[in-house]
């Protein structure tokens, strides 16, 4: 797998795509997103810096997944444009977008009777055509993606037989095999136990560090979001509520406003990142009475 390097001016030297640090990897311009008639965002502007890990956080129903899907052209904006590497995404051929941008949805469908290697191999599709079928390099990339996710020894297993953690790593391997410089992950840690959540997020962090990939993800766990992100974007009420490095965003005031959450924020003893400690909430159960037994 070709590793991305940066030159002295901080520019990516490995094509595609050549881009300078001033061009955002993704940019929402005046974006209005709506399902049927309910508007989720209106006139949203948000720019995603290349080479960084940006995490979207927000309460349930705040529209963070919808925003990620709009970046991944799965949800079409009613108004506004999404720009990918400085160009409106709809100006690219669909396969060209796939070479630049990969999205891993929350619930991908695991195909039946398909080996892990077969599944991961599908990540190579954007690089193939009738004139350029499967090449030895494709095999190398798939091997490298399997190795990076620790799945080399499970390559011939049926994907349906994997555990939750293994399966999630297989999907990330597929995204790696796609070799897109920008990667969108929709709640990559859901349904995983804490240990496997850490595995996945460390993997994401290393993809960002070693390959210079731009990562945008949606996470629910605020402390993990703070630990593994360069930047947090809090969405809610149809707009961006807060935006910045973890220590600036994960403050009691913002948590109260965005999540209706009383919490203290302390330094994480192992990483130094902000650790969100929610206050007790006895009033949540106060209205409940058992019916008297007659």
């Amino acid at each position: 797998m070709s590793h991305m390097r940066t030159d002295s001016a901080g520019r990516m030297t490995t094509p595609p795509p050549a881009r300078t640090s001033t061009v955002p990897a993704l940019e929402a311009r005046g974006l209005t997103l709506a399902y049927d008639r309910s508007v989720v965002f209106e006139g949203l502007n948000l720019s995603i810096e290349a080479g960084k890990v940006t995490t979207l956080i927000g309460a349930n129903g705040s529209g963070k997944s919808t925003l990620l899907k709009a970046f991944g052209r799965i949800v079409q904006p009613t108004v506004g444009v999404v720009q990918l590497d400085g160009t409106p995404v709809r100006d690219f051929a669909t396969r060209e977008v796939a070479r630049r941008l990969a999205i891993l949805p929350q619930k991908p469908l695991t195909p039946s009777a398909t080996s892990v290697r077969d599944l991961v191999s599908r990540g190579r599709h954007p690089h193939q055509s009738l004139l350029k079928p499967w090449t030895p390099r494709d095999t190398e990339v798939v091997d490298a993606a399997l190795a990076a996710t620790g799945l080399s020894e499970l390559a011939s297993r049926d994907a349906g037989s994997l555990s939750g953690g293994q399966l999630q790593r297989a999907w990330i391997a597929l995204v790696l095999a796609q070799e897109a410089p920008t990667i969108l992950l929709d709640e990559p840690t859901t349904f995983l136990d804490l240990s496997h959540q850490l595995d996945v997020l460390e993997l994401v962090r290393s993809i960002n560090r070693e390959r210079g990939a731009t990562v945008v993800m949606v996470l629910h766990d605020l402390s993990l979001a703070g630990r593994y992100s360069d930047r947090l974007v809090v969405v809610g009420e149809g707009r961006v509520l807060a935006d910045g490095p973890p220590w600036e965003v994960l403050t009691p005031d913002i948590l109260r406003a965005a999540f209706d959450l009383e919490a203290t924020v302390v330094p994480d003893p192992s990483s130094g990142s902000p650790l969100v400690v929610p206050a007790l909430r006895p009033e949540a159960a106060s209205g409940f009475r058992w019916p008297s037994a007659n």
Binding site: I74, A102, P105, S121, R122, G123, R124, H125, Q128
Partner: protein
């Protein structure tokens, strides 16, 4: 540790699929020869082969080329079209229970044909007249119109296969209701003719009804096969396949159009032959051990089922049993068996 480097890639068809397809071709040819001989006292298998190769007596030429061959070829083509249409539908819907019927094709064709028989009953006499140009044309029109309506109703900024199935089921029920009403209102001779058509039969097929199906197959098969890789990718869900560069809605429209045209062509030639589009892809999938039904192999299995079933009705069973009854008798128990042993999560 077993290394399987370079064994598989989405671009390389797996060897097992190829083997199954080749065996399918041979089996279809053998069944075709048996179909020519079946139910005839004067023809032997060597006679049939010799006549097919152009060395038969004038009498054998007449029986084989003019009487038997159209029926056998029609069986092969109808089965192939239904099998491929089924494979396409089950793949894009990601559901082994999906058939082109859910697209409204069959019910639309049936309504068209029955309406033609009942409303214009005087001009369509039972028998040879049924297979004149008019009836297939009306059936095709009914199929295309109803499937276009189903597709249109399912469209909400794109077609979701789940919604398409639900609307298709509704449309099938509604169209079936109208068809039944027409039959209930009809004169007894027309009702009998309509019922005969609805069972699906190859009796009385001539070369004239073979050509349209052949043309459809020749045109549609390459288009369908071209969608093979995209069908493979859409098994991962609409979102992953979009991420991998599949234009999902365009792909889905092409696949649905292929399935509709294939089914309409088949139904116009033979009437709705039940369960072939449902059973053939699943048999092919199990033989080839693939995640989704292989298109060509499904077509070949369909060809074998219809031709074989028709040969069975002529060679073994007494009287003239329409092939549609045979396929239903095979298909329905298979459906039940599939439903009872479905432990893996095959639907979404």
């Amino acid at each position: 540790m077993i290394r399987d480097r370079g064994r598989i890639s989405p671009r390389r068809p797996q060897r097992r699929v190829l083997v199954v397809t080749l065996i399918g071709v041979i089996a279809a040819l053998v069944i075709a020869v048996l179909g020519i001989v079946a139910g005839s006292s004067s023809l032997t298998i060597p006679d049939a082969v010799r006549t097919l190769l152009g060395a038969g007596t004038p009498g054998q030429q007449l029986i084989v080329i003019e009487l038997r061959l159209p029926r056998v070829v029609a069986g092969l083509l109808v089965g192939a079209a239904l099998g491929m249409a089924g494979a396409l539908t089950q793949s894009f819907a990601r559901n082994p229970l999906a058939t082109p019927d859910i697209l409204g094709v069959t019910s639309g064709a049936s309504l068209g044909a029955v309406a033609a028989i009942v409303l214009a009953g005087g001009s369509y006499s039972v028998g040879a007249g049924l297979l004149s140009l008019g009836l297939p044309l009306v059936a095709v029109l009914g199929a295309l119109i109803s499937s276009a309506i189903v597709y249109g109703l399912a469209w909400r900024g794109g077609v979701d296969s789940y919604r398409l199935i639900l609307i298709g089921i509704g449309a099938t029920a509604a169209l079936g209701g109208i068809t039944s009403y027409l039959i209930a209102q009809a004169k007894i001779t027309d009702a009998t003719a309509a019922a005969q058509w609805l069972v699906g039969s190859l009796s009385g097929v001539s070369w004239a009804s073979v050509w349209p199906v052949l043309v459809c197959l020749v045109v549609i098969t390459p288009i369908a096969l071209q969608q093979s890789t995209n069908l493979e990718l859409t098994q991962l869900g609409d979102e992953v396949s979009t991420s991998l560069g599949v234009a999902v809605q365009r792909h889905r429209l092409v696949v649905i159009a292929c399935a509709v045209v294939l089914t309409a062509a088949a139904v116009s030639a033979s009437g709705p032959v039940e369960f072939v589009a449902f059973v053939a892809p699943q048999i092919a999938r199990r033989l080839a051990r693939t995640g989704r039904p292989p298109i060509l192999a499904a077509g070949l299995v369909g060809a074998i089922i219809v031709t074989g079933g028709d040969a069975l009705t002529r060679g073994v069973l007494p009287g003239q049993v329409p092939v549609g009854i045979i396929t239903a008798i095979i298909g329905a128990p298979y459906l039940i068996w599939l439903l009872t042993r479905r432990t893996e999560r095959e639907t979404r």
